[in-house]
């Protein structure tokens, strides 16, 4: 029997010879084209679908270009024994990556950070008082990481929560913008993210026009932040419409 060697020998991924991803030189507002041909203020095509996992009380699948995420929500259930009594419900988020999500086969380090960011993004939108003493578990699995993963995870999670019938103040949409020199690139792909100067990620409730989470890195002037926020907010409202239509036609076609 070909016994599998218990400890797999050290392996390395053959990297592309010679070519290093240099940051493309961009003059101020030249007509530099983004790697996938989009204009600066154009988001990737969004594909959203609910009911991806049958054994979960609510689930959703989201695909933005190459970023593919599945989120499943397990409805209000009894929380862990260690937890004390609390008259508001609790939210428990967990984000994991598949081993083949990133081009290089390793787990990206900041999954713990992503889980707490997802938790902060969603806790503002859920009516926690509607399920006291219990916990809602939101688990996300990133099948493929193609850039701006956290916004796609947050959007897909809010769709899964709606599919699970959890009471929400409003849907939650999230978009990220990265700044490259003077230009603002919306919904960046992982290549653009690797050489961005700064980034701004906004999670907001489109129809209530409230921001539940916002993170900025890099150096920004106030007018730039204002312009970037405006850009994100109307992208979020467009995304909110797409999510609503996705929920409507999921409800209209009876579950087979």
């Amino acid at each position: 029997m070909a016994g599998k060697s218990s400890s797999t020998p050290a392996t390395y991924a053959p990297s592309v010879s010679g070519q290093k991803k240099r940051r493309p030189l961009i003059q101020a507002d030249s007509d530099w084209v983004r790697p996938d041909g989009r204009s600066f203020h154009q988001c990737r095509p969004a594909f959203l679908r609910t009911g991806a996992v049958n054994s979960a009380s609510g689930s959703a699948y989201a695909e933005f270009g190459n970023t593919k995420v599945i989120v499943s929500v397990f409805g209000p259930r009894e929380s862990k024994k260690a937890m004390m009594y609390s008259d508001t419900g609790r939210l428990n988020c967990n984000v994991t990556y598949t081993t083949f999500a990133t081009p290089l086969r390793g787990q990206p380090p900041e999954t713990k950070d992503l889980s707490s960011m997802l938790h902060k993004a969603l806790e503002g939108a859920i009516i926690l008082k509607s399920f006291p003493k219990t916990t809602v578990d939101v688990f996300a699995l990133v099948l493929e990481s193609g850039g701006s993963d956290l916004p796609v995870i947050t959007t897909c999670a809010s769709l899964a929560l709606a599919d699970a019938g959890i009471m929400l103040y409003d849907m939650v949409a999230s978009v990220s913008v990265s700044c490259l020199g003077k230009n603002l690139l919306i919904d960046p792909v992982s290549e653009e993210e690797s050489y961005q100067d700064g980034s701004l990620v906004i999670t907001c409730m489109p129809s209530r026009n409230e921001v539940t989470q916002m993170t900025v890195t890099g150096e920004w002037s106030t007018p730039k932040i204002h312009e970037a926020m405006q850009l994100c907010l109307d992208a979020c409202s467009k995304l909110g419409k797409i999510m609503r239509s996705c929920l409507k036609d999921a409800a209209s076609v009876p579950q087979d």
């Binding site: 029997m1 070909a2 599998k4 060697s5 797999t8 020998p9 050290a10 392996t11 390395y12 991924a13 053959p14 990297s15 592309v16 010879s17 010679g18 070519q19 991806a52 996992v53 049958n54 054994s55 979960a56 689930s59 190459n66 593919k68 599945i70 989120v71 499943s72 397990f74 259930r77 967990n94 994991t96 598949t98 081993t99 083949f100 999500a101 990133t102 081009p103 086969r105 578990d137 688990f139 996300a140 699995l141 099948l143 493929e144 990481s145 193609g146």
Partner: protein
């Protein structure tokens, strides 16, 4: 709820779902007497199976297999390893089965399901012992460099018969596998030969120009049956699995050789006649799955 009148008349006026939740075994046995199952399938029929190749762009070979609601995503990433001394011209396959917390309510992020390592071992035993892949094809430079195929299978939705769906997705991922073209650069490291920088190609000719696809001989397919009081149910859902716990997993390869027959105990006993029926069902299932796999491969070649 005094059960004076005996549970039979009680079930007649009780609402269907309550009866299904309160007396699951009796609910299923009422169906078995009419040899039909709650989701309308006859006993011997498997659920509707679909296969999609190339589901993950960042992997060298990937496949998404769906049997009823059970969904498995398998992906292969190729990395270079130095072969062991005893087998200088053989590559390696590392197979791992993951059950992320999204696939079923029983799995918590902290505690992995205890079924996952068992299925992972059964999968690697089946694939390695079935001789589907000749490890010599994974060799690049004998003794110096060979391919290590990392096959990772993720269960996206656990609704019974996990092993069958996992094996199908693994086999499909191997048939979709594209081995990258590589060449050896001066200090002995294997590097990708990307099409555009042809200038680097000049002095280093690609080592494995011709071996892009793996040849798969006798491909294993499996069917899990549940034995319950001389009934045999093929391809159980998770509800049927949790109630009737006697499983018999038969793995046959495309030339109908028995790769493995696995009955891990459970309350029921398997008599020879029951085993023969299961093998007959599995033969039928192998033909079906073979057709589905060939269709998936053919329309992958088309586009």
């Amino acid at each position: 709820m005094a059960a004076t009148g005996g549970p039979n008349d009680l079930s007649s006026e009780m609402e269907l779902d309550a009866f299904r939740r309160l007396f699951p075994l009796r609910f299923h046995e009422r169906h078995l007497t009419e040899s039909i199952r709650p989701d309308g399938r006859p006993l011997g029929k498997a659920r509707e199976t679909t296969l999609a190749l190339g589901a993950v762009a960042s992997a060298h070979g990937s496949a998404l297999a769906k049997i009823g609601c059970t969904t498995m995503l398998a992906a292969i990433k190729m990395e270079v390893m130095t072969p062991t001394v005893e087998t200088p011209d053989e590559g390696g396959i590392a197979i791992d089965f993951h059950m992320p917390p999204i696939c079923s309510p029983l799995v918590r992020p902290g505690r992995p399901a205890e079924l996952a390592p068992v299925i992972s071992k059964q999968l690697s035993d089946t694939i390695l012992s079935s001789g589907m892949i000749d490890l010599k094809e994974l060799c690049l430079v004998s003794g110096k460099a060979a391919w290590m195929a990392y096959l990772d299978i993720y269960c996206l939705d656990a609704d019974g018969a996990l092993f069958d769906a996992a094996l199908l997705s693994a086999v499909a991922a191997f048939s979709h596998l594209q081995i990258p073209v590589v060449s050896l650069n001066d200090d002995g490291r294997v590097v990708l030969v990307s099409e555009d920088n042809t200038v680097a190609m000049k002095e280093k000719e690609p080592v494995n120009k011709e071996r892009i696809k793996l040849t798969l001989n006798n491909i294993p397919f499996s069917l899990t049956c549940v034995l319950h009081k001389n009934y045999i149910l093929a391809d159980p859902t998770s509800e049927e699995e949790s109630i009737m716990e006697t499983f018999l997993t038969v793995v046959l390869d495309s030339s109908f050789q028995l790769v493995s027959l696995n009955k891990p105990g459970g309350p029921g006993l398997a008599h020879t006649s029951a085993i023969q029926d299961c093998i007959k069902l599995t033969r039928q299932r192998v033909k079906e799955l073979q057709k589905i796999l060939n269709e998936a491969i053919s329309d992958m070649e088309v586009d």
